[in-house]
Amino acid sequence: MENITNRPETTTSESASSRRSFLRVAGAAAVTGGLLTACSHADENYLIPSGSARAAGDTVKLPTGDVGILAFAYVLEQLEAAFYEMLLAKPYPNMSSADRQLWTDIRGHEIIHRELFKAALGGAVPTLTFNFSSIDFNDRAAVLIAAEAFEKTGVGAYNGAGKYIKDAGYLTLAGKIVSVETRHHSILRELQYPKSDAFAGPTIVTSDTGLHLAYEPTFVLPIAQKYILETIDASALVSSLA
């Protein structure tokens, strides 16, 4: 099916094995429980939470408290990484080398974020399935609009969720990531509107306070949900936040 993950680049046995080796190393260091196992069937592209094979259309319940916030972040990082994987699997015509370098860098950053959360969560949230069929990957302008929107949502999500995190270490980790998402966003805005103040103009940073975006999780998830085939149920997470 057009534009639907799981994910184009994972069709090589090389990256399938890389994922296993990551899990072997990182999974051991991560939260106990929720062991992930690579699917042993012919399709090695999927990672399935042990005990419950998951199909598109299932409901994924986010955990409560700090782990739920990490799970929320993992959903967003999966979305971003899958988008950039798709973008580079279906590059628009005449993609310049500068553009390709930019997308390759951002894709790398989002994959790294995703894999770190995956290791930390130990399978509390499965690998999700995405549908990007609403995005015209052949059109550079459309791709830029989509990427800018995803990064903007990510920045706002981290900025809005930070206050709910109880563990100082998790808060610091979220802080290390949000500024990189903001850097992505700033550069994408510059590409859309070169040599202007769009990177931090009044649609992004409020003029009279100098504050960048902040979104509540209840605002962010419906945006992400449009691209996710599984249903994300954040009701327990949201009621646990205080």
Binding site: S15, S17, S18, S21, F22, V25, A26, A29, A30, T104, D105, R107, G108, H109, I112, H113, E115, A120, S134, D136, A142, G156, Y158, N159, G162, K163, A168, L171, T172, G175, K176, I177, S179, V180, T182, R183, H184, H185, S186, I187, E190, S196, D197, F199, A200, G201, T203, I204, V205, T206, S207, D208, T209, G210, H212, L213, A214, F219, I223, K226
Partner: protein
């Protein structure tokens, strides 16, 4: 294509968008958005929200006041730096808008922090933008100016990040600090881009950012590849899409207060 829906969803929840839209429509940058009905919602101004949350600054915990005054010091530094350069012909026309919006943000950051701190706000110090003679052409050579700007912005990101945990007992202020932190990151990426650098920090030396070694301290530790106890170079070694440089770039590292004070002290007169 559902991006239009995505944008309108953002508008529904982000109260400040109406304030932003007013500016945007004046500038005519996105004429398609000017037709939106924006009368219904009142802009939510964080400063007033903070006042509601905390009342007088005397109600703020001391650790929060300390963080805010530390942040205010850095904002004074940045604002005075950009304000001194404002309207100087050394800034190429292509970049005047960028540096003007950055200057305005630092100005309103100063104002916001002073408002929240009230009588506890420290006064503006005197600055020496030669950094005791290290930079001889700060306001006459755009390359020097932009290099210092990048250093300030990248350092500011790290400085705010280092204080997040100290604001956990004041959630509304923590959120404001995160939002200022993101603004600094947006500035940093653009200044880096103007200088021909990537928007993200690769490696732990000034040289890798096209900067002189005198500002090494601002980048020390940015070569970290271990996050949450996981060495990501090892963990992702089999994925040929991932380089060690990307792992360094993917996370901005915090700086503690003493380190930041050490970095900016040469800029105090």
């Amino acid at each position: 294509m559902n991006l239009q829906n995505l944008l309108s969803d953002i508008e529904k929840v982000d109260g400040e968008i109406f304030d932003r839209l007013a500016h945007v429509s004046r500038r005519g940058l996105f004429s398609s958005l000017t037709k939106k009905t924006i009368a219904a919602a009142a802009p939510a101004i964080m400063a007033s929200a903070l006042t509601k949350s905390y009342g007088q600054s005397s109600g703020l915990p001391q650790n929060v006041k300390d963080v805010l005054n530390y942040a205010l010091t850095l904002e004074y530094l940045e604002y005075r730096f950009y304000d001194t350069a404002n309207n100087l012909s050394m800034i190429p026309n292509d970049y005047k808008m960028a540096f003007e919006v950055i200057r305005r943000h630092e100005q309103v950051h100063v104002r916001l922090l002073k408002n929240v701190l009230g009588a506890d706000a420290i006064p503006e110090p005197k600055f020496d933008f030669s950094a005791k003679g290290t930079f001889t052409d700060t306001f006459s050579n755009f390359q020097t100016f932009a290099a210092i700007a990048q250093t300030f912005e990248d350092t500011g990101v790290r400085a705010y990040k280092g204080q997040a945990a100290n604001l956990q007992n004041a959630p509304a202020i923590l959120q404001v600090a995160l939002q200022i932190h993101a603004t600094e990151a947006a500035h940093a990426a653009n200044v880096r881009y103007i200088r021909g650098q990537k928007g993200w920090i690769t490696g732990g030396t000034a040289a890798m950012q096209g900067l002189p070694s005198v500002v090494n301290g601002s980048y020390a530790g940015e070569d970290n590849v271990t996050q949450g106890g996981v060495n990501l170079v090892t963990a992702l070694a089999g994925d040929n899409r991932i380089t060690p440089a990307m792992i360094m770039e993917a996370f901005d590292e915090p700086l503690d207060k003493n380190t930041v004070v050490g970095i900016v002290t040469p800029f105090f007169a």
